[in-house]
Symmetry: D2
Subunit: 502 residues, 4 copies
């Protein structure tokens, strides 16, 4: 989901693209609320700013939804036993969110919940709608009252005003009106629903927990999650990826599936492999850790250079650097140490301290670097500010040469499908060629993996099929597979719809 | 406003009826946000649980609404200079609220704000709608998404779906569909609007602040407030009461007024005089303090008894007790001391301490009571639990006789027009005659002022005109002047619409 | 106790003298911690800034002290059941404190607790030592480490370094070295001890709770408290005042008493009657409420004037105003309403608002004042700032004349015995005669009760005996009955001893 | 420092030994407070529970100490600009602390500060005194009042009662009475002092910041810190290790050094290399990262086994695993992923969830493990609980064999010199031989590096010199180089001295 309020990006704006959400859902599980909290914990890397869970419980004649949301990490928001006790039931959906602009935007935290004529419904959304602003404008004109500033809320209103009678039909009706990237988990009184947009840009997988033996006839619990790492933590078995354009409806009868959008070739986000997903996740049948190592191998092949040591920029650069080391034969060393104790905030620096160029997150392991020719391996360059600081730090620690190798092609375009990237004007690679970039970040040499190399590393030996590319790689190519409606209508946009400041 | 969620009543449920809100609005004033905070502070007695302010500012081409709401007292919610700095502008509305059921119900705190096609709108509501549940059901069926569990939100949706084009027409359209008691302050980009329901059950007054001299052509600031005490604190001059059924529209052109509901005799809430309003307020041209003293005089005339001392139950019983003392010639003494330092919460008592019958709010001034025949004067008996404790305390302090005199008629019916009273089954006077009540609270005698006596004290020498009573006195008579739609449809109600627990 | 750090006075600096503490102790009571919280709640008027409780429990072989302290009201600091569960035991001492300078001064909150060779000891102190600075200097020189910035801590160190072996001897040894006003409650493993300084400047009383019948041989619980109102709330019976210079030692054998300081005439603080004590307390056998009414009567006799209405400045002026009304025959009306919802903090006013002269605590009851000759009755004038505002407010409400009558003599000297008064230079009466003062506060006339009148009202028909005055009245006379050691040594003081800022 | 209160260990008790503090001091630096916060941030791994800074400022005639302490991470405690503004001055000391037992133990947070006759003094202590209890008992007997429950406070009292006149002599006098391990930073008005105990068990290093060029005659700033990583972050140059038994006194004249304890062979803590120190630190001239890799090499030589993959237990096992991989030729893979988002607290698990064996911190990277013979490399086994879970997790991910290799000898004895280890009875290696341990943790094989192997890896080719071992290795050998006074006097201990619960 995306904040339509044009709010400035948060304190984590540290020159990396940011995933904008993880989702989780579970059906027919004891302690569904706690299971969801565990799943969200495993998906914490997809969003650290806020988190929420909605559960559904039936207690005799009474059926109720229960919600708890908060700003902060899953472990903090759901650490209180009283809070968990307030989330009873055997079905739940949850959401991790990146990016907020302050305490009062608690109303933006998902899952979004609303009461409809047919009962309650909770929706968690990973992705971004590209026609949200125009839909919102039309809905407001019709008399809909928006409570949040997120694109995801249009799902709720489209469902509310649908003339169909049951939840699945209303949801399908709504989906047919939205354009964009979305993986959804939806919880109604009758079912847990999972949806992946027609191109399958964002991931969503299905898992299953068989009930303990000795419980004859016991039905399994079902899990939906953004990544497989969320299955492992709750003891669920991986069943399959939800397919692009598929809607799965899970209830006590089992899992059924509809495909109301017809069939189109998938365009899964290639950046999930490069940076976002957790290394122990398996996406579309391909392990992320292994993929990154192979990218490193390919990178070494394409861009070899003599050096004494391969140093990853932690933490995401590590597997690629290992692959680079294997392919090049140059030793791999942890020449940069990451400090994991960096909190939300830190000292507002005085001029004196700013001049120190203090790096709170990284420090050079001087003994591994001094006097050496160093190859730094990182996953991407966005604005270039971090890369410049890292190179500077490595030089200050005595490196005789600093070569930068990047395990993705140059990021030349913004993402509109659920990744928080700066506008194009701020992307270093959109404005400079590689040589200029090398100079700007202060490296002796700089090289990126090629698009074809990337595809090869991901198991496409023939490289990128320019006619029907297997992945969404718009950030590297500018070929946007889903239309950018709002952007195109930009001149007619009415930002005043979002004018409430706080 | 009322919570439709059926939530249990809050910690202040101390056997007094509770006013359910105060409203304030201001137009064309520097520091409108701070002025509103002051006004709300003066209206704090009308609601202590939560408070909110919405301001509107124009800064060059940019016009924005700004909101801050919080649980707690006005002085606490608005004490931070940074919060006030976030509420710029020359127009504002604010609201004090009684009764919440927890932190997450912040979304119930008013003013409610929404973005419409025509721009933003904030609404603060004092009163209670008697057809809110059925309206809500119809609106949900139409596809409206409710964010709060308050009756007041139906105003917002009715305005949103109205087919009229301007704010006043839409508001009027909405008002024609609601039934109940309401005094509203409404802030749009173009005007500050005040509304009082057709019977004028809840108060709303208009004030004016002339700009300092030496500012030729400066337009005055205008103020709307529940009571005159809120004018005094901001230095505003009382202009007049908003009339029953009147809508006043305030903008830079001045104040204009429409009356879309025709003309019906007013039925102002008589309990405002007895208990709710602040003693220094003037309601409908009649001073509250003076009214209470005259009620005490009348009470003494109707129900004389020999005694040594008149003791008010503080704080609300004081003026009536003074009147009783003047009329009876029996000395008035502060025989009960109130501890004003009682916070939100207190020690959960053990059995041992519960047996002490500890009274955290009141203590007997033993020296004024021991060995004396005491007349206690209080304003009302609701459940009777407090009265019983007070009588017991006064006896324990050595009173030889304890006579209770009440400055209102017996409360036999619940209020549905904005006052939080228990259901009828819990009203002592609904189930017992005066003699039984005296026994139950442990008093040697008990007497209430008569209905006619009450009207006489309020300046109706002929007493209550049974055909067209001047006040709403349904809590004493059961004659409800506004139809109780939801209550009548009770059997068809669908509580599941309000089923989200938290 | 007093803060020796020279910290600026707190937010309550509202032109009234401030009592600086209330103490409470209990022995042999179930739930001693909760009982102490109740007692401190009843003593809340003696200090609202911070509060603490130390209990002592014996659980098998293990004997332990338990402490909880916090900033804020008793009801807030001790509202959590888990906190109370952490204060087990049958003996406890507690303390209410006025004045802190921030969160980090939690270490100044009493009771102070320390581990000695003989075991633990907790001390709560109401009063002020006049040789604390010189004692502290000597103790530091000897190697004592102070943890707080309060004068009270010298008790702890003097006890610690005493060469005597048992607690009572060590305490007596310590008391012989201190000069000043002090009422102490002290809790050791063996006993609860109460101490009143040789002149008995501050109050301390003894109460008793007989065990419920049917418990043969059950020993009573004993209570020490600053005022009798704290006995009422825990169901204790008043036994007697602790005498000046008396040390009472309470243990399971009962109450024994020693008087190590010989016999000197008492000098109880007269201001306790005028302002500090709660009206329902009885001090030295004399009811506070009754005393205040008699002061009002005497004030009317000495300073009569024609007027239409007597208006008290709430809340403390009420009984005196009632007495004045009775004696003068002029009607008593609540012409000023006090807003009891004023929280800790409030809006930082802009210039615009400051010009309004906003009064958050008081408002004029216009109907009772307009066009009338008003006599305002208040208890004291310190700086005069509040009086000026009150007079101004009453005039603005339309009073034709405003006469101020004060139920104490002019406050011409600072208190050094436990009351927070400004330095002499800021006392209005120290620098101006009554006529000037009347002008400065804007009153048509101003009069104070005379010293003799005050003594007469307190049951000394002959007035003040100038040779051996019955009360400490230094604030009116400058006759300080206890030497002001630190003040006299002022030139040699070393403020650096207190230099730690936070 | 150590908590003498016998409090249960904190939430981080996760089967690893815990370092118990980091210290930092700086002299003659602008923004000394902020520089200290940065230094403490770099030392965060040595203690995450609490942190504090004391600065000293001279402003005209006024010289003051300023303190701020808090529970939590450095970045959180010192993130507020107002807090930093309250820590002015050019000299400061700071401290990170492991282990507290609750909010009220804020008084245990260091640096400890006290006012003495000669002025203020702040002390930060890393280490543990082995005669603290007996010293404390003697000091209490003398009349000293302890405010904390830490051993470190005895320094303060010994300094306070010393008969010498200047700070250094008093400190030396105090040090001669204490027994144990201690690295101290001390700040007085005249100097910054660093102390390392006679055996130099805990680290302490000296750094220097030259003033920017163009400032002729500008004196350098001096830094003391536990590890060199704290120099890097503030831009300081490493000068040298403080020597065992050395006291360095830093003031505007420069650095001078005294050695009042004579000369004894050093016994630096070997565990600093194995686990505690940050990999980019250099201790005693030996890089920690390099040392760990060489330990891994030695471990592979001593304990080879056939396998498919080397997997480190993150994060501390990584360098040793890399060394093991290099020496064995078996590939190194990140087969276990660490979740760095684990907060303070987490869901209290229900039975259902407990049975899942949920691992919040670690997850298996299934693709790297399934079907493989895995060698896990970890740094130590304390209780064995974590090792058992890790082995179980790796087996569940499909490993065909799991071999555990530990880069330290078996931990058979508790540490009394500043490391938080469980009592001996809970140390797995104290009660079981290696084979039993392998069975208990479920590994197919288990091996530890030998003592001689460890010494060899640390640059002692001859292995451990049993007569004069170069390191303190008591946790592996039970040879305690500093006498354990309190432990030996255990039978006479009076725990009641520490009886205040909270």
């Amino acid at each position: 989901m995306t904040d339509l309020s044009g709010a400035p990006s948060g304190p984590y704006d540290d020159d990396k693209p940011h995933e904008e959400c993880g989702v989780f859902g579970i059906w027919n599980a004891q302690d569904a609320g706690a299971m969801t909290a565990l799943g969200l914990h495993a998906l914490q890397h997809r969003g650290q700013e806020a988190t929420g869970i909605v559960t559904f419980s039936v207690d005799g004649p009474e059926a109720r939804f229960h919600t708890h949301k908060g700003l902060g990490l899953v472990g903090d928001v759901f650490s209180d036993a009283r809070i968990m006790a307030g989330l009873p039931g055997t079905a739940a959906v949850g959401h991790n969110r990146y990016a907020t602009t302050g305490a009062t935007l608690l109303r933006n935290v998902q899952p979004l919940y609303a009461e409809f004529e047919f009962g309650g419904l909770a929706v968690g959304h990973n992705g971004n709608l590209t026609n949200a602003t125009s839909l919102r404008r039309a809905l407001v004109r019709r008399g809909c009252i928006f409570q949040s500033t997120t694109d995801s809320e249009v799902f709720i209103h489209l469902i509310a005003i649908s003339l169909y009678s049951n939840v699945v039909d209303r949801l399908t009706d709504a989906l047919k009106q939205v354009v964009g990237a979305y993986s959804l988990v939806v919880l109604s009184q009758e079912s847990l629903i999972g949806v992946r947009d027609p191109l399958g840009v964002r991931p969503l997988i299905l898992g299953r927990i068989d009930q303990p033996e000795g419980q004859p006839n016991a039905k399994p619990a079902w899990v939906l999650a953004s990544e497989t790492c969320a299955l492992d933590i709750v003891g669920a078995e991986f069943v399959r990826d939800i397919e692009p354009g598929e809607i799965v409806i899970i209830n006590d009868e089992g899992v059924r599936s509809i495909r109301p959008f017809g069939d189109r070739p998938a365009r899964f986000c290639v950046f999930e492999y490069i940076y976002f997903a957790r290394p122990d996740s398996v996406l579309d049948g391909y392990g992320v850790y292994e993929a990154r190592k192979r990218i490193g191998v390919e990178l070494a092949r394409e861009n070899p250079i003599e050096a004494d040591v391969i140093v990853p920029v932690p933490d995401s650069g590590v597997p690629s650097a290992m692959g680079y080391s294997v392919a090049s034969g140059i030793p791999f060393e942890l020449g940069i140490i990451r400090n994991h104790y960096v909190g939300r905030t830190f000292i507002e620096p005085t001029d004196q301290i700013r001049n120190l160029g203090v790096k709170l997150k990284h420090s050079a392991n001087r003994a591994m670097i001094a006097g050496k020719r160093v190859i730094l391996v990182d996953d991407s360059i966005v604005r270039g500010t971090t890369s410049r600081k890292i190179v500077e730090m490595v030089r200050a620690a005595g490196a005789s040469e600093v070569h930068m190798r990047i395990s993705s092609p140059p990021t030349t375009h913004s993402c509109f499908y659920g990744i928080d990237t700066p506008e194009r004007g701020k992307l270093l690679a959109a404005n400079h060629d590689t040589e200029e970039m090398a100079q700007l970040i202060g490296a002796d040499s700089l090289a990126f993996i090629s698009l074809d190399g990337l595809y090869r590393a991901l198991g496409r030996p023939e490289g990128r099929d320019t006619a029907t590319p297997f992945y969404c790689d718009a950030c590297f190519t500018g070929e946007y597979p889903i239309s950018l409606t709002d952007l195109d209508e930009n001149s007619r946009a009415r930002p005043s719809l979002l004018a409430e400041a706080r």
